[in-house]
């Protein structure tokens, strides 16, 4: 088991990424995984399975909601979609994330100089 802080960071990060992914419209878990995989160029390596507890947790919080639908190849798939609350969360999290990463980069830059 990784230490708690790391897991929290990872979870929080994963949550923001999922919300971001869903901000372009409803998609199923597999599509979310593919998009994360492709966009991050494998930098963010997570087990694809870890995505699902995160999706369910977000649904439990009311940030996203789900509906069964048909996939592009006519299979039953569970589609997730942002709720208004989720959209709000995404904005807030994205903001604090870029502040955080900006601050970290700044500190690192100073240290290097």
């Amino acid at each position: 088991m990784p230490p708690a802080e790391e897991l929290d960071l990872l979870q929080g990060t994963l949550d923001v990424l999922i919300l971001k992914t869903l901000s372009w419209g409803p998609r199923h878990g597999y599509a979310v995984a593919r998009w994360l995989h492709d966009t991050s160029d494998d930098v963010l390596r997570v087990d694809e399975g870890a995505l699902y507890p995160a999706l369910h947790r977000l649904e439990r919080r009311g940030w996203i909601e789900s509906e069964w639908g048909l996939s592009e190849n006519n299979r039953r798939a569970k589609y997730y979609q942002l709720t208004a609350q989720g959209r709000q969360q995404l904005r807030a999290k994205a903001l604090s994330w870029s502040r955080y990463s900006g601050a970290v980069s700044k500190v690192l830059a100073v240290a290097r100089g």
Binding site: G49, R57, S71, A77, K78, A84
Partner: protein, 890 residues
């Protein structure tokens, strides 16, 4: 989003955990399959792709487990909120539709508040008095014991101090046996000393009750020995009022009857035994030797005892009886005849006298609540019919019958709960009113309050009421929703469906029947109360002032000083302007403290066996007592003629009952009876007096000159020329001229003692009366509503009749006949019901039979008249209909 959630609710509402699990499995399977397919498309073999997919996915079981858990939580939350939202939807809807009918809602709410409020208040009393256990540990083991002397007709006797010691030793089935005696003592000194209620208690008293002092302690064994410490235990109330709630009160001295006592303990607030007002407890050993005779026959103590665990009162009694029989053989002089006993639980003793009355009242208020239910059901039914079209419309657009019933029942429950809440508020006030009305007689009045249990009762009653008055009309209203027919059916010319009319008639019948039962009960109580208050107490209570006090004992002075003091007091009071006459006795009628009647024998008549002699109350009376009281002298002379010397033996005026029974067929004047070994000569006969209770004469009384029986306690009776209340001050001042600083137990117009004596029947009469009037009013309103409704429905029919030439009187009669039909049935059913139910009231009635013909005739006449009025008023409208207007209009 709204679309999505609606769709989700329609298609994907997993009903159980199984569905949640299946959904998760499907979702994960879909992912793995898609991944595998993609890998295959990238050129891997199916097996290889499958393995790689599993690898990339990670620990499938763990993921599945986590997802199950989160989703199950989620589903539960969704279901909860769905339930709440549908409930709040129903409630909002119900509230809205009730607001749209404010008149209807107001009438229903007020009716419900009345019914539930009255029931809740009554239940508070029953709970406080009958149901709540007494504040003693294992209170059900506390019993009172009375020795009985059947032959002498004494069934609630007392015991002597000496005998009580034997009892404590011999009665092994009891863990403690204590004796006590209520009394009053003058507390404090100075200008305004006052009387406080005290109890002299024996060593076993506090151990039997099993309560410790809140502050300090109760008595130690050595304090129960004659000549021991002068210790007292005081009540919480006394400690607060007289000692300023002083935490250091232990060890302080207080003055009682002019002597100093040391406070050793303060009892807890809820300790109130023997009397609710008992303020000071003293050891029986402190009673002056003069007041109590010391022998075995000095019976002066009441007995309280604690049964050992597992012993029934019956087993306890067997042991007491066994012991008493042995004593009767061993000490024939004092114990002959005292061979049996009564053992009763203290709780039963305290509440026994009011139990039946309270239960009757609870039953009565329950009937009122039933009438309320019937009345509201009636209103709901009318409303349901009027809403027929609305409900049909709802059914037409897809509401199932269950949904409509739920809607209507929610409405009823909302009404019931709101009415119940109002009722609880009313009950708060009602309980105060009840306790105030109950006066002195209601035991444990302090325990009566609205508490959690009472509130729970109110909630249950409200819900039950709502279900009772709501369900049936709801079922009826929803049953009639054969949609098409209802929608088509126009108000035009339609007569309410036969079924609905029938149902309303049935409700009216029920209501009238219940009202008859209640009003008959009220009528019987009223008649009984009227008899009781009109009964001749044997003296004239108007313009009569009662003064009660204890004469001071002067150290060293002979006891005869008491008699001369008393004589001086009486003579001084007679001189007060406005006083017509005055006299003194030990205990005036209806003031309690009569004590035990004592046996007497008549020389020359066959002597009954020992212990079975007739008994007489010897009442010491001053000259002028009988005259001042207005007790008629029937034969012979008054005591005034006696000069007070005792050389000629004791002279007595006997009561009429004694004269007639002891010397049947001849005048007792000049005859002699033997009392306590001394001959008593009868010089006159006086009228009987209801001295202990208003409803009976009781035993024999003999008035003897007070000089022969000097006593400290004195009841002064003063006949006044005008309102006795105006003479309270002058009489008090006059007495204090003779006895400076004298304290008084009471100075009151005698009327108030009579009123006190009638407080129990008054309480029951007033309450049953209120319930009767309520039921009557509700029934009248219900009938009015039904007839008015039916008139409105048949307006067009009546218009047609009138247009075709029917005389208005005939139309009026037609409508009234329809209204009165169910009333007549209700009257008959009600009379039958009353006949069956009022039997249980028999013991509450005085000189009135439970089948009193007058009541049974008057009540239906009264109810019939009210019903006629209630159906005449709305029917009049039918006869006044203007045919042209009605027929032309919609």
């Amino acid at each position: 989003m709204a679309r999505l959630s609606g769709v989700r609710r329609l298609f994907r509402l997993p009903r159980a955990e199984r569905d949640v699990a299946a959904a998760v499995d499907d979702e994960l399977a879909f992912h793995l399959q898609m991944l595998t397919e993609q890998l295959v498309a990238e050129g891997r073999s199916p097996e290889d792709a499958r393995r790689e997919a599993m690898l990339r996915f990670g620990d499938v079981d763990r993921v599945r487990e986590r997802c199950y858990q989160i989703s199950t939580d989620h589903e539960a939350a969704v279901r909860r909120s769905d339930l709440f939202s549908s409930l709040s939807h129903d409630l909002t809807f119900a509230a809205r539709s009730l607001r749209r009918a404010p008149g209807f809602s107001l009438v229903v709410l007020l009716t419900l508040a009345l019914g539930i409020g009255a029931t809740t208040a009554m239940f508070s009393v029953v709970r406080g008095v009958l149901l709540r256990p007494l504040p003693f540990p294992d209170a059900e083991r506390l019993v009172r014991i009375w020795p009985e002397n059947r032959g002498a007709n004494v069934d609630h006797g007392q015991v002597s101090s000496l005998e009580l010691e034997d009892w404590s030793r011999e009665l092994t089935r009891f863990s403690a046996v204590g004796g006590y005696r209520n009394g009053e003592m003058v507390y404090g000194e100075g200008a305004e000393p006052s009387y406080v209620p005290v109890a002299h208690v024996s060593a076993g008293f506090f151990p039997a009750l099993g309560r410790a002092a809140a502050l300090g302690r109760t008595f130690r064994p050595e304090e129960h020995v004659v000549g021991g410490n002068r210790s007292v235990v005081v009540s919480n109330g006394f400690w607060e009022r007289q000692m300023g709630s002083d935490r250091q009160a232990i060890g302080r001295s207080i003055s009682l009857d002019g002597e100093m006592y040391t406070v050793v303990g303060v009892m807890p607030p809820d300790f109130s035994f023997p009397a609710p007002t008992t303020s000071v407890w003293l050891s029986t050993s402190l009673v002056g030797e003069s007041s109590v005779c010391c022998g075995r026959d000095g019976r002066w103590l009441d007995v309280i005892a604690r049964l050992r665990a597992g012993v029934t009162p019956e087993q306890g009694r067997a042991q007491v009886d066994d012991m008493l029989r042995r004593f009767a053989a061993t000490y024939p002089a004092s114990n002959a005849g005292w061979t049996s006993s009564a053992v009763e639980r203290v709780h039963d003793v305290i509440v026994g006298s009011v139990r039946r009355g309270l239960l009757v009242l609870l039953g009565a208020v329950g009937l009122v609540l039933l009438v309320v239910c019937v009345n509201v059901a009636n209103l709901m039914l009318v409303r349901g019919t009027a809403r027929g079209r609305e409900l049909a419309l709802r059914a037409a657009i897809g509401a199932g019958r269950g949904r409509i019933v739920r809607l209507l029942v929610t409405e009823s429950l909302l009404l019931a709960v709101t009415g119940g809440a109002l009722g609880v508020v009313a009950a708060f006030w009602g309980v105060r009113g009840l306790v105030a009305l109950s006066g002195e007689f209601l035991p444990r009045a302090a325990d009566v309050r609205v508490d959690g249990g009472v509130l729970a009762f109110a909630v249950i009653v409200s819900l039950a009421t709502g279900a009772l008055f709501g369900l049936w009309p709801a079922l009826r209203a929803s049953a009639g929703t054969g949609t098409a027919s209802m929608l088509r059916e126009d108000a035009r010319g339609s007569v309410g469906s036969g079924g609905a009319n029938h149902a309303r008639s049935l409700l009216v019948t029920t209501e009238v029947a219940l009202a008859v039962v209640l009003v008959v009960g009220a009528g019987l109580m009223l008649r009984s109360f009227e008899r009781l208050t009109a009964t001749n107490p044997g003296f004239r209570p108007e313009n009569l002032l009662l003064v009660r006090f204890g004469m001071p004992l002067t150290e060293g002075a002979p006891r005869t000083k008491l008699a001369t003091d008393r004589q001086n007091v009486v003579e001084r009071v007679r001189a007060v302007p406005g006083v017509l006459s005055a006299g003194a006795t030990k205990n005036a009628p209806l003031t309690g403290g009569m004590g035990e009647p004592q046996p007497f024998i008549i020389p020359g008549q066959a002597t009954p066996p020992a212990g079975e002699e007739p008994r007489v109350w010897l009442q010491p009376a001053s000259p002028g007592y009988l005259k001042a009281m207005g007790i008629p002298l029937i034969a012979g002379q008054d005591l005034d003629a006696v000069t007070g010397d005792s050389t000629s033996g004791i002279l007595a005026v006997v009561s009429r009952k004694m004269a007639e029974r002891a010397w049947p067929g001849r005048s007792p004047v000049g005859e002699t009876f033997v009392f306590g070994g001394r001959p008593v000569r009868v010089i006159g006969v006086a009228g009987d007096v209801r001295s202990a209770r208003l409803d009976s004469v009781g035993g024999y009384t003999a008035y003897v000159p007070d000089a022969t029986m000097p006593r400290r306690s004195i009841s002064l009776v003063v006949r006044t020329s005008s309102d006795p209340a105006t003479l309270i001050g002058p009489v008090r001042d006059a007495i204090r001229e003779v006895l400076p600083g004298q304290a008084f137990q009471e100075i009151v117009p005698f009327r108030s003692k009579l009123s006190e004596a009638a407080s129990t029947p008054r309480f029951f009469t007033v309450l049953v009366g209120i319930f009767g009037v309520l039921a009557l009013a509700l029934a009248a309103v219900g009938l009015y509503g039904v007839v008015a409704y039916s008139v409105r429905q048949r307006e067009r029919e009546m218009a047609v009749r009138l247009a075709l030439g029917a005389p208005p009187a005939r139309v009026l009669a037609l409508m009234m006949r329809q209204g009165m039909g169910p009333v007549v049935v209700g009257l008959i059913a009600g009379l039958a019901g009353a006949f069956a139910v009022t039997r249980i009231m028999r013991t509450l009635l005085f000189e009135v039979s439970a089948t009193d013909p007058l009541t049974y005739v008057l009540v239906p006449v009264l109810l019939g008249a009210i019903a006629l009025l209630a159906s005449y008023l709305p029917s009049r409208r039918a006869a006044r209909v203007h045919p042209a207007l009605v027929l032309r209009g919609e």
